[in-house]
């Protein structure tokens, strides 16, 4: 019996290790998490008593796109935390694959830049997998609703990584503005453009 099962199990293990993670789309529940912040304390949605929702952004220390968006992420928190939408940043990269994305280096970056929002270490990449995060940065706009925390927008922050076009479309901010008016975001899904999430090598 075991002899027959083993190849099957092995095949399954290999398959699941390389499986593609499907991005959770608007309308799906946002999985909660309990991850370690750079200050050593764990953070989850439940810690935010007054929040109307969350800007969950998978980002990292290393990716040129993540670096290009860093200031904008800091600005988003400054602008929208008072309106009830704080930023929660999560580093989805495996520190063995991406060696400059270790917990210690995250701590150094958060301190150097003075992050006013949590920057969480996704041990084992369980949260990135649960959301189906594809890239850094990859944002999920979460709305706290009667039935729970719901994803209402996912994808890019705007359509202009280099921040060079004054006429850029700010998808995420537009979506927040709509949610604050209790309307549906004009665009609910865009492509998360950035570096692929560095998943653990099996």
């Amino acid at each position: 019996m075991m002899k027959r099962l083993l190849p099957l199990l092995l095949a399954f293990a290999c398959f699941s290790a390389t499986a593609q993670y499907t991005t959770l789309l608007p309308g799906r529940a946002a999985p909660d998490f309990n991850l370690k912040n750079t200050d050593g304390k764990n953070v989850s949605f439940k810690d935010y008593v007054k929040a109307k929702g969350f800007i969950v952004v998978f980002t990292c220390n290393t990716c040129p796109y993540a670096k290009a968006y860093e200031q904008r992420i800091m600005h988003l928190h400054k602008k929208y935390a008072p309106a009830g939408f704080p930023v929660i940043a999560i580093n989805p990269n495996d520190p063995e694959v991406s060696t400059a994305d270790t917990y210690e280096k995250m701590q150094a970056l958060a301190k150097a830049k003075g992050y006013a929002f949590p920057y969480l270490f996704d041990e084992g990449q369980l949260t990135a997998n649960a959301y189906g995060a594809k890239a850094t940065p990859h944002t999920f706009l979460v709305m706290r609703e009667a039935e729970g925390n719901m994803i209402r927008y996912t994808g890019a922050i705007d359509n202009d990584t280099e921040n060079a076009d004054p006429a850029q479309t700010k998808y995420l901010e537009d979506a927040i503005a709509s949610l604050l008016k209790k309307e549906a975001p004009p665009v609910a899904v865009t492509k998360a453009i950035g570096c692929t999430v560095k998943r653990k090598k099996s």
């Binding site: 202009d160 280099e162 076009d165 479309t169 492509k191 453009i193």
Partner: protein, 159 residues
């Protein structure tokens, strides 16, 4: 003076294709148009960046294909998606250091959401990614290539 000018011109004729195109910037529409007017030429367009490890690793395979099949109607175009501000300081030195012989361009587009769809609606935007076109056949790959896989896909579309 005239002689010198002639000599310079002759040298230019004598070493065609040795130098990279002077204009490194390309718009997606221009690229698509060129490919659409390509007739029975196979276009292999690889999207890469200097900071993308797997992209840099596979560049040699594209270079090798281009060299090994230089007698074919084949155009290998390496489209770089580094930030435009990195062209002079990072991209051009990289191209020179690696002695890349295929055509290299930096994609001159601001709106990534748009250009990605104009290459292939199924593209998530992740690199490396490769487009192969011959006439009306258009195949898109959001994956890494080794030489064997690249060659077999090329021979497949070339038929």
């Amino acid at each position: 003076m005239r002689l010198l000018l002639c000599a310079v011109l002759m040298m230019g004729l004598y070493f065609p294709g040795k130098s990279q195109p002077k204009n490194y910037l390309v718009k997606i529409d221009a690229l698509n148009k060129r490919i659409a007017n390509g007739g029975d030429t196979v276009y292999i367009v690889n999207f890469w960046a200097t900071w993308c490890g797997p992209c840099v690793e596979e560049l040699v395979h594209f270079e090798k294909l281009n060299k090994d099949y230089s007698a074919d109607k084949l155009k290998v175009i390496l489209v770089n998606v580094d930030f435009r501000s990195k062209l002079q300081k990072t991209v051009i030195p990289f191209v020179k250091k690696r002695k890349l012989r295929s055509e290299v361009f930096l994609l001159d587009e601001k709106n990534q959401q748009e250009y990605i769809d104009n290459i292939d609606p199924a593209w998530s935007g992740a690199i490396p990614a490769t487009l192969m076109v011959k006439g009306k056949q258009r195949k898109f790959f959001e994956e890494e290539f080794d030489y064997k896989k690249l060659l077999s896909q090329y021979l497949n579309i070339k038929k």
